[in-house]
């Protein structure tokens, strides 16, 4: 039985102090959310790609089922029990949710079906007063949030982001696209007001957007710093430190977190220190990490390989601040980035050049269609355009039952050997 399979997984070794302490930030944020709810203040469950500054401006504390599912992938109820993600996924599957569905969806649905929302890591997500989702990235988050709204009997708002098709990495939207998205931002604010009584205050939103903008600039600066050789900050650090930027944008604490991170990365570069003593080759991680087994990011270190860059969760340059019309600014910011393969593949190739990537590990996430669908084309483009080999790691995002450790290690060993041979033959590894 699949359920009986024992999977050996472990956490990652992070190279940065700020990354090692990022967990404390998350624990503190969850505690603040629960205190907020206890004080009678409203809570929203939402998604990463909704503009979080809106929540902070409107007095809501957000929880994120996707992030919560990732958190469940590393926590156990007791030392002997299965990971919490597996416990919740089983509850959902027993209720008829297919195991082909997104791991995030199954875990958070199982958490809802479990009945006791406090019976979970960090006391779970506080009961929501509303749900807000977006059409960005995947279909799943529409159906998943609809389903949670139906099960919890909690009102839902969906932000529909037009899926624009264009060649190139960024392009300003057309007027009708901006009008459409902006109208929904206005409707979202009205929706929040109807439920909470809090009125929209443009000054307060501008204040949050100022923090968000400054935080984004810092994150962009960190990305730039990460191009240094040797790599001062790896993917384990990158994924560990994404929470404040992805989920707390618009707050002073997120800004301060990245300021400390930026300073630490700067310090490492100045001291000429990398993630490891002797860096031989640099790797790309494409996709969402295998949250239940972050130790994978240290796998190549004994042979001199470091994960230097991951495109997931990274910021993109925002349009300039527009305090006179903050909603227009938000609409532009969200619509400027493209999400088709015509956009993502050329962007990835460019990033591989900039980060001097020698090989790619592609998370072949079998239940995450958005990440999974482009993976074979990405593999082909890396090889054809840059001569970069890559390896596919097949599993779920949070459900370790899908992870075959032996198979993954065999593939990764062969992959490392391929890169090292190239290294020993004196060929340039860096693109």
């Amino acid at each position: 039985m699949e359920e009986e399979k024992q999977v050996v997984t472990k956490g990652s070794q992070k190279s940065l102090e700020v990354a090692r302490n990022a967990w404390k930030f998350i624990v503190q944020d969850y505690a603040e959310g629960h205190a907020h709810k206890k004080a009678g203040k409203p809570v929203v469950w939402s998604c990463a790609l909704v503009e979080k500054e809106l929540y902070h401006a409107m007095g809501l504390h957000p929880f994120y089922p996707e992030q919560f599912a990732a958190l469940c992938a590393v926590r156990r109820k007791t030392p002997d029990s299965v990971k919490e993600a597996v416990r919740f996924a089983r509850i959902a599957e027993q209720a008829g949710y297919s195991s082909d569905l997104c791991g995030y969806e199954r875990v958070s649905t199982g958490f809802v079906l479990n009945g006791d929302l406090a019976d979970a890591p960090l006391d779970g997500m506080a009961p929501p007063d509303m749900l807000v989702t977006t059409s960005s990235v995947c279909d799943v988050r529409l159906k998943w949030f609809e389903d949670m709204a139906q099960r919890l009997n909690v009102p839902l708002f969906t932000l529909d982001r037009p899926e624009r098709r264009f060649d190139g990495i960024m392009q300003y939207p057309k007027p009708h696209e901006t009008r459409y998205y902006r109208s929904q931002l206005e409707d979202l604010l009205s929706f929040i007001t109807e439920i909470t009584g809090t009125k929209y205050d443009p000054d307060r939103l501008n204040e949050c957007l100022d923090w968000g903008y400054k935080t984004n600039e810092l994150r962009l600066e960190i990305l730039e710093l990460r191009k240094a050789v040797p790599s001062p900050m790896g993917c384990a650090d990158g994924f560990a430190t994404m929470y404040p930027g992805m989920y707390c944008s618009g707050t002073k604490k997120a800004y301060e977190f990245y300021r400390a991170l930026r300073d630490e990365v700067r310090g490492k570069i100045k001291a000429g220190k990398g993630q490891i003593e002797k860096e031989k080759f640099r790797l790309l991680w494409y996709g969402i990490p295998t949250w239940f087994n972050m130790g994978i990011f240290n796998y190549f270190e004994p042979v001199g390989g470091v994960f230097a860059y991951e495109p997931a969760y990274n910021p993109h340059p925002w349009p300039p601040r527009n305090p006179k019309d903050p909603l227009e600014e938000i609409a532009l910011r969200t619509l400027t980035i493209g999400s088709t393969m015509s956009t993502t593949i050329p962007a990835l190739l460019e990033q591989c050049r900039e980060y001097k990537i020698a090989g790619g590990v592609l998370a072949y996430l079998i239940t995450c269609r958005a990440i999974y669908l482009p993976s074979l084309e990405i593999r082909r483009a890396l090889e054809k355009e840059l001569g970069i080999p890559s390896v596919l790691i097949e599993c779920d995002l949070v459900d370790e039952r899908t992870f075959s450790e032996g198979q993954v290690k065999t593939r990764m060993d062969a992959f490392a050997e391929q890169i090292l041979k190239k290294h020993e033959s004196g060929k340039s590894l860096n693109n």
Binding site: D100, L101, D139, R151, P155, D160
Partner: protein, 389 residues
């Protein structure tokens, strides 16, 4: 069964090629029933729904990973193998994650009959047209937004075809589509009787052929055929009355109708894109035609789409509308593996059917092969036996 419907259903490519040869007109392929195919019709183009083969993949598996919709992968494979070489263009809406990506795959992998007409890096006569269909189909600004999307599509088409598409052309298309919709509705009405006026498989053949024939021609033949059935009192074999809900019901998946009928059931209504969703919502001829087309397209209850309601129930509403008055005794959900929208909504719809209508539900997960459909026979038999008591 009327010979022409069967011919289109059983050998679609030959039938369409023959039509093209005889008329000398253009044919465009499209994905999904929410595509504004009326605009193609207005431009004197025959829109035909793209479907797959159910055969092992020959080329697409090198590009589209296996744990994704087998139907869409098969469609692409058919395109890469040249089975759609008679198409003059392809229209792809943003209807679900995989169809959205079909725009890239089809554009980069399927050979096109004419070379791109590049001006300053832009192909002014694109072979693949993308429709930025909203994912939330209601809301105060969605209609103006989508009308603008359709205007852009119409302009691209006009440039590609070197002809204009006037409001009169669009109005003619709206009228032809409404005529066919009303005959299709009539055909479904005839299935409310017990026994049904025609079998589920016959109804599927008629529906499937409507996606491959010009609508005026289909409506005319269908009217004559239904008149004939009514006058001679034709009835389908009796059987447990089944509601069928599921993924793309093309000639591969449609074997499920035969299995249901051979097991003592009879499909009398459905929630299918090659079914009610392809004709259920009429076009308002009082509106400017582009707006009427936009509203029809937005009215389609695709499992992927959502609405502005605080607790959306649009999918349940569509199911209820297409199930009521049909005296349903059981519901079969035939869902293709990895169809996220369908899989995600299934538990809720199953629970509603059981608690609100007291209708038993069978869930079948398909792999888009004839063998896979055949393997469901024993489960279908057991389900129908259970209802028969």
């Amino acid at each position: 069964m009327h010979e022409i419907f069967a011919r289109y259903a059983e050998n679609r490519h030959e039938a369409v090629k023959k039509w093209k040869q005889e008329t000398g007109k253009k044919v465009f392929g499209y994905f999904c029933c929410l595509t504004p195919e009326e605009i193609l019709y207005a431009a004197d183009i025959l829109p035909v729904r793209i479907t797959g083969t159910g055969e092992p993949l020959q080329q697409a598996d090198l590009h589209v990973p296996p744990n994704s919709c087998a139907f869409a992968r098969s469609c692409l494979d058919a395109g890469m193998r040249g089975m759609y070489d008679y198409l003059d263009g392809v229209v792809i809406p943003n209807s679900c994650d995989i169809i959205f990506n079909m725009e890239f795959f089809w554009r980069t992998l399927v050979p096109r009959p004419t070379k791109p007409a590049m001006i300053a890096g832009v192909d002014i006569k694109p072979y693949v047209h993308y429709i930025n269909y909203p994912e939330k189909i209601t809301g105060r600004e969605v209609v103006p937004y989508y009308v603008e999307v359709l205007k852009n599509f119409k302009q691209d088409l006009e440039r590609s075809l070197n002809r204009s598409i006037t409001d009169d052309d669009l109005a003619r298309a709206v009228s032809a589509y409404n005529q066919d919709k009303s005959q299709m509705k009539r055909m479904y009405e005839m299935r409310k009787s017990d026994p049904a006026g025609l079998s589920g498989y016959e109804a599927w053949q008629i529906t499937y052929s409507s996606l491959l024939m010009p609508k005026d021609k289909h409506a005319g033949i269908l009217k004559g055929y239904l008149d004939e059935l009514e006058s001679n009192g034709h009835k389908a074999p009796e059987g447990i009355r089944i509601y069928l809900s599921g993924s793309a019901m093309d000639q591969v998946n449609a074997d499920i109708y035969k299995i249901i009928e051979e097991s003592g059931g009879q499909v009398v209504s459905d929630d299918l894109c090659v079914g009610t969703r392809s004709f259920w919502y009429p076009l308002n001829e009082e509106l400017p035609p582009l707006e009427a087309i936009a509203r029809r397209s937005l009215g389609t209850a695709c499992p992927r789409s959502t609405v502005t309601a605080r607790i959306p129930e649009n999918r349940w509403t569509h199911l209820l509308n297409t199930a009521k008055d049909f005296n349903i005794e059981g519901a079969i959900f035939y869902v293709l593996k990895c169809c996220d929208a369908r899989l995600g909504e299934f538990p809720h719809l199953r629970d509603k059917l059981k608690t609100e209508l007291d209708i038993p539900v069978l869930f079948l997960e398909g792999d888009y092969t004839s063998e896979g459909v055949e393997q469901m026979r024993s489960r279908v038999e057991a389900f129908i036996e259970m209802i028969e008591g």
